[in-house]
Symmetry: C3
Subunit: 351 residues, 3 copies
C-alpha cells in the first residue's frame, strides 16, 4: 500500500494521476496431449481442451446499488505461447465497460452474444471448445455470430455492441445484444453474388444491425432457455434448451438449434442441430456424456458421441480425459462420411 502511494505521488507528477483500484487478474491455462484421426491433427499433439485466458477485471461501487465494471480478456495458446490466432484481437475473450444496478447490467464493447452466453449452461462440456464438446460445431450448428470480422476472428462474439442483462425476476432473465454496422476488416463473402461481385465485398458493413436475444428461466431442479439471433449477413438462428437435475450429482440437458442462411445461400440454406448430454459427479470426479447431430438439409448429417472425465485436484485444478467419435461428411457436398476418433489427456488450471 505504502509503495503504491509513492507510485501515486510520482505518477501524479508525470500527469497520469490514476487512482489504483482492485484489479483482479484471472485466467485459465489448459494443456494436454491429444490426437484426432482423419484431420490435420492426426498425430500426437500438445493441445488444449478449453480456451486459455489471461484477464483483467474490476468493479467499482458507486453507491446506491450502482456499480461500474470492466473486463479485458486475452486469449492465447499455451503450447506455442501465441495469441489464439494471428488475426484475432489482443482481447479476443472480451473487452467491455458498463454499469450495473437495479435496472440490470449495461455494457459496451466486445463479448459473447446473448445467445452464445446463455447456451453454454445446456452443453455437456459447458461450452468448452473441446473437440469432444458440442458448442463449437454441433450445438450452434456451425453458426457464426460475427462473419464480418477479420478472417479467423471469433465465431461467437459481437464487436461494437451494446450488451444488456436484465435482473433476475423469479428465476427469469432476459439478455439482449445489438451491434452497429461498422466494418471490421472482413474478407469478401461471395454469398449470393459472384467471385467478381461478392454479396459482401471485403471490409463490408452489416446489411442490418446484428442482434441477439435470449430468455432464461430457472425453477428448482429445472432450467430452460430460448434465444434468437441474426448476424451481420442476416443469417438467422433460433434455439431452445432445457436441463433437469434429478439429484444434485446428476444433470441432464438437451438443446435444439435451427439456422437459416437464406439471405446468403441459394441451396440448402437450413441447418438444424440437437444435442443431449449428462454430467454426473462422483466424489472428486465428474463424468461428461454427450450425443448430438447436425443436419444441413440435403447434405449428410454430422453425428458425434463423446465421453469425458474430470478429476479435481482442487477447486481450481483438474485432470481430464476426453474420448469422442465424430461421423462427418468427408466434404460438405460428399455423400460419404468419415469417422474421426479423438482422445485427449491433460490438465486444466484456473488462476
Amino acid at each position: 500500500m505504502k509503495k503504491s502511494l509513492v507510485a501515486m505521488a510520482l505518477m501524479g507528477a508525470f500527469g497520469s494521476a490514476v487512482a489504483q483500484s482492485s484489479v483482479t487478474i484471472y485466467g485459465t491455462i489448459d494443456a494436454g496431449v491429444s490426437r484426432t484421426t482423419h484431420t490435420a491433427n492426426d498425430s500426437t499433439q500438445i493441445g488444449k481442451r478449453d480456451n486459455n485466458k489471461l484477464g483483467f477485471r474490476g468493479v467499482e461501487d458507486l453507491g446506491n446499488g450502482l456499480k461500474a465494471l470492466f473486463q479485458l480478456e486475452i486469449r492465447y495458446e499455451p503450447d506455442t505461447g501465441t495469441l489464439e490466432n494471428v488475426s484475432r484481437p489482443l482481447f479476443q475473450g472480451q473487452s467491455r465497460i458498463g454499469l450495473q444496478g437495479g435496472f440490470g447490467t449495461v455494457r459496451l464493447g466486445r463479448g459473447l452474444s446473448a445467445f452464445q452466453e446463455s447456451i453454454i449452461a445446456f452443453e455437456p462440456w459447458n461450452g468448452l471448445p473441446a473437440v469432444a464438446g458440442y458448442q463449437t460445431n454441433l450445438q450452434v450448428a456451425g453458426y457464426t455470430s460475427d462473419p464480418l470480422s477479420a478472417a479467423g476472428n471469433s465465431a461467437n462474439r459481437f464487436s461494437n455492441a451494446l450488451f444488456y442483462n436484465s435482473p433476475v425476476w423469479n428465476g427469469f432473465q432476459v439478455n439482449a445484444t445489438v451491434a452497429t454496422k461498422e466494418a471490421n476488416g472482413n474478407p469478401a463473402i461471395i454469398g449470393r453474388g459472384t467471385a467478381t461481385a461478392p454479396q459482401y465485398p471485403a471490409n463490408s458493413e452489416a446489411s442490418a444491425n446484428p442482434y441477439s436475444v435470449s430468455a432464461t428461466y430457472t425453477l428448482g431442479k429445472f432450467a430452460a432457455m430460448a434465444a434468437v439471433e441474426r448476424n451481420g449477413v442476416e443469417t438467422k438462428l433460433w434455439s431452445v434448451a432445457a436441463s433437469f437435475k434429478p439429484t444434485t450429482a446428476l444433470k441432464l440437458m438437451a438443446s435444439y438449434q435451427e439456422q437459416d442462411q437464406g439471405h446468403t445461400v441459394f441451396v440448402n440454406p437450413e441447418t438444424d442441430a440437437w444435442v443431449i448430454g449428462a454430467n454426473y459427479t462422483v466424489g472428486p470426479g465428474k463424468w461428461l456424456f454427450g450425443y448430438g447431430q447436425k443436419s444441413p438439409d440435403g447434405v449428410l448429417k454430422t453425428k458425434q458421441v463423446s465421453v469425458g472425465y474430470e478429476y479435481s485436484l482442487s477447486p481450481r485444478t483438474y485432470l481430464y480425459v476426453d474420448l469422442a467419435q465424430k461421423k462427418t461428411p468427408f466434404t460438405v457436398t460428399a455423400r460419404n462420411t468419415v469417422d474421426q476418433n479423438h482422445y485427449a489427456l491433460g490438465i486444466h488450471h484456473n488462476f
Copy 2:
C-alpha cells in the same frame, strides 16, 4: 504473501529468482456511442473519447531519496478488443525505465516528448484524442513528433529516447527529450525528393537527432509553458501556452503553435494554430469549452468549436457528452470547406 514466497522458492528453483515488487496495474476504459458527419465514421458507432490503457508500473525506493521507476502501457480499442493500430507497438502508451532523485528524473525508452507532455495542461479536453478536443489536430497544428516510425504509429511520442524532467524550482520546471537516429521501419517519405528518389527512403534514420524541450511555470492561479521541438525529418515546432484560474471552479486557457516544414516541403511549409478554452466545474459536473483554428499558409483554415460535459459518478468514473463542429478544407488543396458535426455520449472509467 505466503503464497508469493512459495512462488519465489519455486521459481528460484527454476532459475528465475526475481523478487516480487509492488507492481501497480492501472488503466482506462472509455466507450460510447458517437457519430461524425462527412467522415468515414458518418454513422452511429461504438467509439471512444480517450485513449484506452492497460498499464503496469512500479517504483522502488533505493534510499537517499533515490528511486528506480518503470512504466509499461498497452493501448487498445474496447469496441473491438484490438490494439490501437495493427502496426503500433504493444506498449504504444510508453515503455520507460529510469531513476528519480534530487537531480530530477531521467528515463530511457519510449514516451511522450517534452512538448507533448507539457501542452496537455493547456488544452480544454486535457489532451484527450477526443474528436471534440484539440490536441490531436489543431493544438499541435497536425504536427508529428515521430514521422520515421512504422505507418500508423504514434504521432506524439519519441522512441529510442532519453527523457529528463528537472525538479520544480519555485514553480519552474524544465523537461527535455533527445532521441537517437535509429531506424524504426518507417515507410518512404517523398518530402523534397521524388517518388523514385524519396527524401527519406523506407526505414530511414533521422537526418538529425530529434529533440524536444519545454519549460513550465506555475504561480498561484497562473501557469504558462514554452516549448520547442524538432522531429526526425527536421520539421520544427514552437509553442507557448498559458492558463488562469480566476476561481477554483473556472480555468481559462490559451495556446499558440507554429510549425515549419521547410526541410521537407517546397510550398507553404508554415502552419500556425491557436486554441482557447475553458473548464468550469459545477458540483459533480464539469463543462468544457473550446475554440481553435489552424492556418497552413496558402491553404484554407481549419476551425473548430466544441462543448463537452462530464458528470462524475465517482472520482474514477464519469459519463460524458461531446458536441463539436469542425469547418475543414475538403481536401488540403481545396478552396472550399465542409462542416463536420460530431456528437459523442459515453462512459469513462479509470482503474
Copy 3:
C-alpha cells in the same frame, strides 16, 4: 478483498466463476546506451543487455506436497515498446502449466530446453543475450533449438513440448524436454535440398522428435553439467561445463560445446566452441570476465573477449558497463576477419 468478492459474485453472474488466486506479476526492464562497430548498430543506440520480460505466474498448493504451477512471460523491447520480434509469440519467454511433487516437476507448453536452461549457470554473463556475453552466439556455437518455428522466433526454446525436472538427489538433478512433430509455420529450409526442393519445405514438421537432456551436479564449491540435444532438423549438440568457487566472492567457469549439422549440411557440418569466464564480487560491485571461441570446421574462428561491471543500487536494480571485442569472419565463407568493438552503459531493474 471485499472488492474482489464483489467482483467474484458479479463475474459469477456472468458465467465466469473463476476463483482469484495469488498471481505474481514479475518482470525485467533493462535499457541503456550502446554501440557495436562494424555492424548495423554502428551508431549510438538505445539498446538492452538483458531480455525484457513482463510475466504472470502462480502456484497452487494441492496438499500432500503436490503443487500446480503456471507461468506466462511476455518479452518486449523497451526502446520502442514493441514485442521482441514482430513474428514472435506474445509469450515468447514461456507459457507452461504443470505439476510439482516428490516425483519432480512436469510441465507442458513452451519454454527453454533442458540444455539451454542448464548452461546458463556456467556462462559469465549468466545467459544474458548481451553482446558482451557468450550464450547467444559462442556458448551454444550458434546452435538453434527451434529451427522449425516462424522466422525470427526463439533460438533456444521448444514449443509443443513436455518438460521434466527431477528432484535434486545429493546435488544431482536430471532435466529432460521432448517436443512433438507439430508444424509451427517455419519458412523453408534448403538444407541438403535445393531452392526448388528444400529439405524442409515451409511449415515442415520435425523429421524426428526434438529432445534435450541435461544432468547437473553440485558439491560444495564445485558444480558441473553435461547435456545432449537434438533439434527438429536433427542437428545434434552436446555440451559439458563446470564451475568452481575458491571463495564466496569468486566464481570460475568453463564450458565446451560441439554441434553436428550433418543431417542438413554437406560441408563443414561440425562446429565446436568453448568459453571460460569469471565473476568477482566486491561490495556492491560485480566484475564479469569472459573469453571464448567458436570454430566451424574449415571456416575462420570467431573469438571474443569481454569485461563487464554491475553496480547494485538495490537487490533488484543495478547499473552496468560492458566492453567487448569480437574477432569474427566478415562473412561465413570469408578468409578474413573484422574486429567488432562493443560498449554498453545502462540500468537493469527487476520487478
